[in-house]
């Protein structure tokens, strides 16, 4: 009966774990609701302001960025989900039970990362497309009409919005692996997204433009940008550079986490 179970068995096991705990299930729903709900609210707010906007504001208005505004909130949910996926194992000491069943730590992390990626990508894409269609409905018939999916980089921007949520979840998982405790990992994650931009703001403005574009949420905006620039005029990376840099962040966090986990006692 002992056919050697491989990565797929561990992925199935991690999927059972993912869906059998309230925190991850609720977290995933919150991410969905924030992406759609906040996008809707921002869209309606912007629509109400269209008539009072300056010509410059109107010219640089990117309706896709507006529709995807909820992602700025949802990115906190995915980071928390990712971090909790591993830190909850340490806080409950169930990591010992888990590692006794799956002694290959690399395989365990790979399985967790795969489950997290698939769930966040699928739910992230669903959320992004709903947010896009909501935005399209809101701006229908206005001067800021939403480009159709077949126009320009629209489809790419929507798809990359879902991918951004997935990558930020993986980044949270990496932080969780390194820090091994929920409070530490979640506060580090939120600090990187919220406090870091404030600190950068205090730097000389000539530095700011060089640093800001590396911030995760700015990379996310660059990924969904169809115009190649942000409304604020902040220089950003091109779509694929931004995607690549965010991938590199995830790889670095996960890589550090895997190396540390191989070395540390459970």
């Amino acid at each position: 009966m002992t056919r050697s179970p491989g990565l797929f068995a561990v992925v199935r096991s991690e999927w059972i774990k993912y869906r059998s705990v309230r925190s991850t299930v609720i977290g995933t729903l919150i991410m969905l609701i924030l992406t759609i709900g906040i996008g809707l609210l921002i869209g309606l707010a912007v629509k109400g302001h269209l008539s009072t906007m300056t010509p410059v504001e109107r010219a640089t208005l990117d309706p896709i960025q507006v529709a995807m505004g909820g992602i700025l909130f949802a990115q906190f949910a995915v980071g928390v989900i990712g971090a909790l996926l591993i830190t909850s194992e340490y806080s409950s000491t169930s990591i010992r039970t888990t590692l006794a069943a799956v002694p290959n730590r690399l395989r365990l992390i790979a399985a967790k990362a795969i489950v997290l990626s698939v769930v966040l990508f699928v739910v992230g894409e669903i959320a992004s497309f709903i947010a896009y269609f909501d935005g399209a409905a809101i701006f229908h018939g206005t001067i800021a009409a939403m480009p159709s999916l077949s126009q320009g980089k629209t489809l790419q921007a929507v798809l990359l919005s879902g991918l951004y949520l997935m990558l930020m979840g993986l980044f949270g998982l990496g932080l969780g692996l390194v820090l091994r405790q929920s409070a530490g990992a979640i506060s580090t994650y939120t600090s990187l997204l919220l406090i870091l931009p404030i600190l950068v703001f205090l730097l000389p403005s000539s530095w700011q433009s060089h640093i800001t574009k590396f911030e995760p949420s700015v990379l996310g905006q660059a990924m969904r940008s169809t115009t190649g620039a942000l409304r604020s005029g902040t220089p950003v990376f091109g779509t694929w550079s931004a995607t690549g840099i965010l991938f590199a962040y995830c790889a670095a966090a996960l890589g550090a986490g895997i190396i540390l986990m191989q070395r540390r006692d459970a």
Binding site: S4, A9, S20, V21, S94, A100, N104
Partner: protein, 304 residues
């Protein structure tokens, strides 16, 4: 079969396990005994590959834990009953474990039934009592029907009924030819549960053997009563025996067998009225064996 070979684990400046070697044989219940903090749990974590040894190794049927492809089918372990995500139901907890090792899901319900948790299988494990958690841990250990089983302080938190149940359960496992290692700091528990005992103190191997062997080799005492205790006392002292007690009732001698004392009395021309060997209880043996390590630990704590 578990082979522990020169296993050593250092944490910064403390040595939790110190060049420990012993074997745990199949078909027997082996008690793993030591005072609290003597390194029993660390040794078990090392056997399960949870901690990396500083030196030495632990093998399960000749293989390292990391090389087992479906470890739950080879080793079942209950280290910490609370090592379960509190928000997950008992059934889902076991289901995730089973699936990760390719164990059929029907086995989950079997083990839940066996430990008597079937009725609460859908309840969150975080709300379980310690006794229920122990049973969930046992269910997890049995999932893969493994030939080797490890239990760390399994009777903690069990009621007398549960303790009796678990003793019979260990016996059944051993009778089925499985290797069973049970740790405890309670000598009295091991005396009634285990066939073989491995004693450690301060991370070091102290002794191993059957319960009988351990009590036999320990310095038991002999009570001797004679017609002339004064004369016998003198004879004993000149033979370098150690007298631990002397009163009207008789003399308590340690470090000498009853036969030796009888011979000595005969040679001294003292009539012996009573010669009673007093076997040390396993508890006393344990106290004697681990006395140094406990005392040392206490002193070390005070210095810090």
């Amino acid at each position: 079969m578990i082979s522990v070979e020169h296993l050593t684990k250092r944490f910064n400046d403390t040595t939790a396990v110190d060049d420990l070697s012993f074997e745990v044989k199949p078909g027997l219940i082996t008690g793993f005994l030591g005072p609290n903090g003597s390194g029993k749990s660390t040794t078990m974590r090392l056997i399960l590959g949870l901690d990396q040894p500083t030196k030495g190794r632990a093998l399960i049927n000749g293989k390292s834990y990391h090389s087992l492809s479906a470890p739950l089918c080879e080793v079942g372990a209950l280290l910490d009953a609370k090592a379960v995500h509190p928000g997950r139901s008992a059934r889902n907890h076991l289901l995730a474990l089973a699936v990760s090792n390719g164990i059929p899901t029907s086995r989950v319900d079997e083990v839940l039934d066996f430990v008597g948790l079937a009725s609460v299988a859908k309840k969150r494990a975080g709300n379980f009592s310690l006794g229920m958690s122990q049973r969930l841990g046992i269910a997890g250990a049995l999932l893969g029907d493994p030939p080797v089983l490890l239990f760390d302080e399994p009777v903690n938190g069990l009621d007398p009924e549960g303790i009796r149940w678990i003793r019979e359960f260990f016996r059944t496992l051993a009778d089925e030819g499985r290797t069973v290692l049970v740790s405890s700091h309670l000598m009295s528990e091991m005396a009634v549960t285990a066939d073989q005992i491995v004693v450690i103190g301060r991370g070091k191997f102290i002794t191993a053997g059957s319960v009988d062997e351990l009590t036999k080799n320990a310095s038991g005492t002999v009570i001797v009563r004679s017609a002339d205790n004064t004369k016998l006392n003198k004879a004993l002292l000149s033979a370098n025996a150690s007298i631990s007690e002397i009163n009207d009732e008789g003399i308590r001698v340690s470090g000498m067998s009853a036969a030796e004392i009888g011979d000595l009395a005969f040679a001294a021309g003292v009539a012996v009225h009573e010669l009673t060997p007093e076997r040390a209880s396993l508890e006393e043996v344990f106290m004697e064996l681990t006395h140094d390590s406990v005392e040392y630990a206490q002193a070390a704590k005070e210095v810090k």
